[in-house]
Every structure is written in C-alpha cells, then in structure tokens.
C-alpha cells in the first residue's frame, strides 16, 4: 500500500466570506477545527454554504477572509493568501471538470506533470486500478459516462499527490445506478491512500457510510460538528435531518446461521442479528440504526417479531419542546443507542433516566 505522507494534525478554519450574486447576498461564517485524518463530511442542504466552504479552503473564493491553517502550514491569514496552485490539495468538482481537449490519459498526465512530488509508476498503476479506469485511457471526456468521468476526476486529483482530498458532492450529478459505480471506490480510497478527505454532501446516507467526522452547515453557519456518531445520535441535528437521527455502530461478524440466512454481529459487548449478505466471519461492518426504528419496552417482549432486543438503562431523555417526539439515549453494555419515541409514550410509561429498558430494533442498515 502506498501511503501519502500526512501528519496527523488539525485543520483550523476560521473563515468569513460574503458573496454577492445580483441582489442576493450570501454570508458564510465558519469557526471550526477538525482532524486532518479520516473523512470529514460537510453536510447541509443546498444553499447552506458547503461548496463555498470548500472553495474557501481551496483558495478559489477570492473574497474569503480569516484564518486557515492545515497542520503547520498557514494558507490564509491577515497578510497572506496562498494561491490555489500552491495549496497541496486534490479537488474533485461536482461536475468532474475534465479538460475536454485532452483524453483520459492526457488529463491524468496534466496532474502528474504538475505534482510537487514525483509520481512513481507503481502509484500511478495503483490509482488507475483502484478507480478501474485503465480501459478508458484513449477516450475523450465526452465519450465517458457520468460515473466514469467522476472516477477519472478522482484519479486526476490523487495523481497531483495532494496532502488532502477535497470532494464536492462527487455523486450529486449521477443517477442512482451510477452512484453505485462510484461509491464503493470512495469507500476504498481512504483505506488505500490514507489521505485526509473533506467530503461535501447533502445525503445523510452517503455521509453515514463514508465519514468519521461531520460538520453540519445551515444558512452559512455551523450548526453542529463532531464525530459522526456523536452528531447523528444527538438531538442537535437541525430540523430537516431530525428523521435521520441514528446510531452508528462498528460491529464484527462472529457467527453465521445458515438456516435462517442470518449473521450475528458483535459490538461493545452486545450482539445484533443481521441479514446474511455473505459477510465473512471476522469482517468489520458499519451499521446504522435510525432512531425512529427503535421502540422501547419495559420488559423483554419475547413474543414479538422483532429479533433484535437489547437490554439497557435510560441514559438520557431529550424532549423536543416544539414537537411530539423525544430522543431517548439507552446505555448498553459499553455503548449507547438512541431511540426516537413520542412524548406521550414517555409520559404513559413514566420513563425516567436510570430505568431498565429494552430497545427493540426494527431494522439495521448495513452501510459497508
């Protein structure tokens, strides 16, 4: 495996920018510090400033002001603004932006020639293989499908040997089938190249699948940020993502049940039954349990179709004062799970912190 040199340090972004387009004025204010390792997702609906934030980090937004530090390197402060071409980033645009006058190979060579670090043959081969574009080398961009274009664009960004990979909704312009053409490659990239990634998306599904860390933007401001699990399992998610509140779990497959086509996955002392998708025993899987798919019961209801019932204690109850729901955190053996229930149920069952409870999980999504 090739490793791209990346000191594990933090990215400090204290940025302000004001954009004018016609009579519209958009203001972005971000004061964030996030790890420059793993995948950091920037989540928000359209118009929340996600792309603007990325463009500020890349130096493409000339009106950006403030402080931007990546590890020990300052890219922007009161006195200096490092131009885009000197920032060691790889940028994957929403619309690929391959050079139309060059074929795929020419596009890749464009990056290799300008890399600050020599691109070894082995690294080139690894990138081409990882994105499966070897057979497309002589094609012109207009002969490629959307998914292929995006894969070439990712390869091109990697071949400039960046210290950080920035991706602006690389899947947004693709239909669902094409998304599946690219998504597995994205998931694999992080494991292969150990490159810190900033990933912009409006899709909670993509974010939960890929990210380790998440920043949620709303109308140009950071609403919440933190590790993916902390953010998604908290009541701090902005209103539009309320239904997406969920627990993310890293579990290991420990047992197969051939008869019922199920596998047993273990996490932090608890276990869950999952559908058997030929996961090998010992494999680590990423699971997502949507909070509204978890119901609570005061006893273990064995006479129920729900297979996954976990015993725990109520660790916290957060009531949504404006709505009908509440978010209940249940402490399991060594982890937590969140359940979204109605305020009425809390009242009816007299639920209180510390009570013993069974979490009944209706469905578990296997993300990766």
């Amino acid at each position: 495996m090739t490793q791209i040199n990346s000191k594990s340090s933090t990215i400090i972004a204290n940025l302000q920018t004001t954009l004018h387009s016609g009579s519209q004025v958009f203001e972005l204010t971000v004061n964030s510090e996030f790890p420059s390792t793993g995948i950091t997702a920037i989540l928000g609906e359209s118009g929340s400033g996600k792309t603007t934030l990325l463009r500020c980090i890349a130096g493409l937004e000339k009106s950006a002001q403030g402080l931007l530090k990546v590890g020990e390197t300052t890219w922007l402060d009161d006195k200096h603004c490092v131009p885009t071409y000197e920032r060691e980033i790889g940028y994957v645009f929403q619309d690929a932006r391959l050079f139309e006058h060059l074929n795929v190979q020419g596009n890749l060579q464009f990056a290799i020639k300008r890399s600050h670090e020599k691109v070894q043959k082995a690294f080139y081969a690894e990138v081409v293989n990882a994105l499966d574009i070897g057979h497309l080398m002589q094609h012109k961009p207009d002969q490629l499908s959307g998914g292929e274009k995006q894969r070439v664009a990712i390869a091109r960004a990697l071949l400039v040997k960046p210290k950080m990979l920035i991706m602006d909704e690389p899947l947004a312009s693709l239909d669902n089938a094409r998304k599946q053409d690219v998504l597995p490659y994205l998931a694999a990239l992080q494991n292969m190249f150990h490159l810190p990634m900033l990933y912009v998306s409006h899709s909670t599904d993509e974010v939960c699948r890929l990210a380790d860390h998440v920043i949620v933007l709303h109308q140009g401001k950071v609403v919440t940020q933190g590790s993916i699990n902390d953010v998604f399992a908290s009541a701090q998610l902005p209103h539009i993502y309320k239904q997406e509140t969920s627990t993310l779990i890293k579990a290991k497959i420990i047992q197969k049940d051939e008869r019922w086509h199920l596998v047993k996955a273990e996490f932090d002392g608890d276990t869950l039954w999952l559908q058997d998708h030929n996961q090998a025993i010992g494999k680590t899987v990423r699971l997502r349990i949507i909070a509204s798919d978890v119901s609570l019961s005061l006893q273990d209801e064995k006479e129920s179709t729900i297979l996954n019932r976990l015993e725990g204690r109520i660790g916290g109850i957060e009531i949504d004062q404006q709505g009908a729901t509440a978010l209940v955190t249940i402490d399991l053996m060594n982890s937590e799970i969140v359940a979204q229930v109605t305020r009425k149920s809390i009242d009816d069952l007299f639920l209180m912190v510390g009570m013993k409870i069974w979490a009944q999980i209706k469905s578990v999504a296997i993300l990766a």
Partner: protein, 231 residues
Amino acid sequence: MGLTDSDINAIWLTIKLAFTVTIILLIVGTPIAVWLAKTKSWLRGPINAIVALPLVLPPTVLGFYLLIAMGPDGPIGQLTEHLGLGLLPFTFWGLVIASLFYSLPFVVQPIQNAVEAIGKKPLEAAATLHSKPMDTFFHVILPLARPGFISAAILGFAHTVGEFGIVLMIGGNIPAETKVVSIQIYDQVEALEYAGAHRLSAIMLGFSFIALLLLYSFQKRGIATKFRIGR
C-alpha cells in the same frame, strides 16, 4: 488565366499584406481578447467599444485620422521619423499599420468569444492541479480556444484582403508597394478594362467564398465558436 504582371503584383502584395497583418494581429490581439474576456474593470466597456469602432466607422474616417497621425506632424509620424524609418503613408508598412486597426475587431472578437465560452471552470480545475496562471494559459486556455483562433485568423486574413477605402486613404496607388487587388480592380474599371476587372473580381469572389465556407464548416462541426461580430 491571362493575368498581367501588374495583376500578379497586386495579388502577391495583397497576400503579403494580409499575412503580415494576420500574424501581428494574432500576437497583439490575443492579450487584448483574453483581458477583455476576463476583466471586471470599468475599462472593459470603453476598450470593447474602441476595438469594435472599425466595424461601424467609414474606412475614410479611420484612414483620415491615421493619415494625420502618420504624417510629419502626427505622433506616429514623429515617432517613425525619430526612429529613422521615414514617414509611413504611401508605403507598405503604412498599409500594415492601417490594416491592423481596421481588422482588429475581426481578430479580437472571435478569440474573446472563445475565451469567454471556456468560463472559469476549467481554469479553477487547472489551479487545483498546481497549474500556475501562465501554465494554464498555454495548456488550457489556448488549446480550448483554438477554434476561436482559427476563426480569428480566417476572418482577419479575409477582411484585410477585402479592404479598399482605407488603403486608398493611406496607401494610394503605388504598384508593388501599395496597389492591392481591390485598388487594381478599381483602376481597371476606371480605365474601362472590364476583362481585367472581371478576372480579378472572380478571383476575389472565389477566395472570399472559400474563406467563409471554411469558417462556417468549422462552426458546423462545433470546432469554431460562433462568429458573432459587433456583439
């Protein structure tokens, strides 16, 4: 074909003039066109208007001002005399200078349109790939704007070949020095030599048609950006 020596001189001179002017205009016009395509300066409007002036001015007006500027009391005239080049009116290089002004919009505008059509997206992509501005100019803007350059070269050449009024004002009628094809035809008609005028006119007609055919067939295949003149 029965062309006289004087006809052949005129044709040769016309080609030499058009070729010289096209080459110089591609070199001088490109930075102007790129600047106009990219700038947000308030000067954009005025410069655009100045570049487009020859499209609407009668060639006699342009020729008149240039004649004065190149004359012994004009700034260009004083400069050329100072440099020991003598005065330019009624010389080949005087014609070249006049044609540079006259054909400028035909070279600048296609290039400007092509560069504007590229937009900033490929340029941003290039910057994220560590390409410095000059590098981007030569390896992204120039190749992507190539159709605009082809249009500019064809139009600049053809338009210089076809000029008449300004040549008359600046160049006069000196064989092998300033007597281009259009003047030669004028002379022949004045002298009632219709056979000669027919021959040269037919050649001009054929040349102009082929030049435009080339231009539009490029456009059909989407190679050249649309020829919009006058904006």
